[in-house]
């Protein structure tokens, strides 16, 4: 057996360039599969991971979702919030309000949005993931202070707004005490064009007691669906309507996202499959060439007493050695490409994507390389081993 390996190794080494090309062909195919699957898993994990961090949250809105659009039915009242406090299993409740406003800065007026709420809650929702570029976050007694999103600070007005500048919102004066970093994909809409106030200040500026959004945290994630239903019932009762409130758990949001991921994964596997087919044809071609060009050698081996089986096993050993090296190289290459792609992806989207290279994918890649390599080596090797020695010796 040792000698068989040695013989196979010798003939691989003797045809160095062609062997390297074959290994490369296999490696590229396998790398394509490994990297695409790893990036796919990474993307999925990045987004669901971010959302599962918020799995204890129920988002309650005064309106209903019809198909892809949200129809607002009005606003919640302080009574709604008080009633929710009586529901069991709820850790805390945070009420928010928001609306369009007109903002004046150095005699320029622009429309934008104000969002007010419990400062601790807003901090954990927005400040922690996005981060502040300048200044500090609101405290409950910052009645005249505001924190602005990146587009409000940099894009809306001719001059850039900094900390300690003064804004006039719906006729009321505020001092800018902080400014957000630019929000990534998930936060761009929520943060960049908003001005954040304390709940009390927001209610006054917007001249409303209405609450537009309630965020509820539960103790036990498993109870979230049940509590969400109870919330809807309680608020619907208060307003005398059947479907005034919509309470959505993160779980149900994750389910929707999961559907999207099934489609993305399908596409990635499809691309990987095409890469594999192309690689397989390449492997078959090189194996076929390799055997054809050695017909003479096969004839000589048979003339000096090799059986068909000896020839076949030598060639299969050779093609599986080449495939194995190609598979391992492909996995390493795929690993590197996946890391590179996720780095580029993270930089471009602002979303933290870390490619996940699963051991199963690596083993699968090597197995696929071996199977394709051996199968495509088998046909020409068998053909060669069946040749009459006279014909084969005469060849070349």
């Amino acid at each position: 057996m040792r000698d068989k390996f040695l013989l196979a190794f010798r003939s691989i080494r003797a045809r160095r360039t062609r062997s390297i090309l074959t290994v490369l062909g296999i490696a590229v195919g396998i790398a394509a599969i490994v990297s695409l699957m790893s990036v796919g898993y990474g993307m999925e994990e990045a987004i669901t991971g971010e959302l599962t961090g918020m799995a204890d949250i129920i988002s309650v809105m005064p309106g209903k979702i019809m198909g892809a659009t949200y129809v607002e039915m009005g606003g919640f009242t302080d009574r709604d919030v008080k009633d929710l406090q009586r529901i069991g299993g709820i850790k805390d409740i945070s009420a928010m309000t928001y609306d369009a406003v007109e903002v004046e800065y150095r005699n320029e007026r622009k429309p934008t949005f104000v969002l007010g709420g419990d400062t601790k809650e807003l901090e954990s929702f927005y400040v922690e993931p996005v981060g502040l570029k300048e200044g500090r976050w609101l405290r409950e007694n910052d009645y005249k202070g505001c924190v602005i999103g990146d587009r409000v600070a940099n894009d809306f007005f001719d001059e850039v707004i900094h900390v300690n500048d003064k804004l006039v919102i719906n006729g009321e004066k505020f001092i800018v005490i902080g400014a957000f970093e630019k929000g990534d994909m998930l936060y761009a809409n929520d943060v960049d064009r908003n001005i954040f106030l304390t709940l009390r200040a927001a209610k006054e500026v917007l001249q409303t007691e209405e609450i537009k959004h309630i965020i509820v945290r539960v103790y036990d994630i498993d109870e979230a669906e049940e509590i969400a239903e109870e919330i809807e019932e309680t608020i619907n009762d208060n307003h005398g309507l059947d479907d005034f409130a919509t309470a959505m758990t993160m779980g149900s949001m994750l389910e929707q996202i999961g559907d999207i991921f099934n489609i993305i994964r399908g596409v990635l596997v499809g691309i990987a499959a095409i890469a594999l087919i192309v690689a397989s044809i390449g492997i078959m071609n090189t194996m076929l060439m390799s055997v054809m060009e050695r017909t003479h050698e096969i004839g000589v081996m048979k003339a000096i007493g090799a059986k068909s089986r000896d020839v076949l096993s030598l060639f299969l050993l050779e093609s599986s050695m080449v495939s194995l090296v190609g598979g391992v190289a492909g996995c390493l290459l795929g690993w590197g490409v996946a890391k590179g792609l996720s780095f580029i992806g993270s930089t471009a989207s602002g979303l933290e994507i870390a490619a996940i290279v699963k051991p199963g994918v690596l083993l699968g890649g090597i197995a696929v390389a071996l199977i394709v390599g051996v199968l495509s080596g088998f046909y020409p090797a068998r053909k060669a081993s069946k040749m009459s020695p006279v014909e084969a010796v005469r060849y070349g």
Binding site: H296, I304, S308
Partner: protein, 220 residues
Amino acid sequence: MIRTENLTKVYRMGEVEVQALRDVNLEIQDSEFIAIIGPSGSGKSTLLNLIGCLDKPTSGAVFIDGIDTGKLSENGLAEIRREKIGFIFQQFNLIHTLNALENVALPMFFAGMRHETRMERAEELLAKVGLGDRIHHKPSELSGGEQQRMAIARALSNDPEIIIGDEPTGNIDTEAGKVIMDILEGLNREGRTIIVVTHDAEIAARAGRTKRMRDGKVLD
């Protein structure tokens, strides 16, 4: 003993049939040194290939030590080639990726011999043909005569009774050819049957018996 019985070989080249051998009846005794001569196309090589079990006859039979080789399976023929026959080709037909030692050891590898035994014997055989100082050289690093001596060592590796040479001196210079003939004569003295095809009359003269061929027939 080798005996052919009405041995006939027909090649089909497209529409045309070529009669390479016609009803050849030939007996070669053990330990004989026989030279087969004749112009090219006379069927010499075809006859050698059939005797050497490299090819199958269209009709007729080849008996080696009483065994009808036509009745053997592919594997049976491979075994005969491996155990009873040593082949020497005009083109040497060495494996260029292997060195002298490995080339000579290859038939013993197919015979399933142990690595150490093979290497030891291959070294002995190379020394016997005068290549004791060339055992790690690749065929391409040796002269034609040296390559043919390597091929003879390889033919001897499984200690066959029969050595078949198809124009063994056809591709090397006269001096080197003489060395090859000396070696073959020596092997014949050891009791091996030597069958050589050649169209060099000088070489044929060194054989114990000469048979002339023409148009696929062996002349008397």
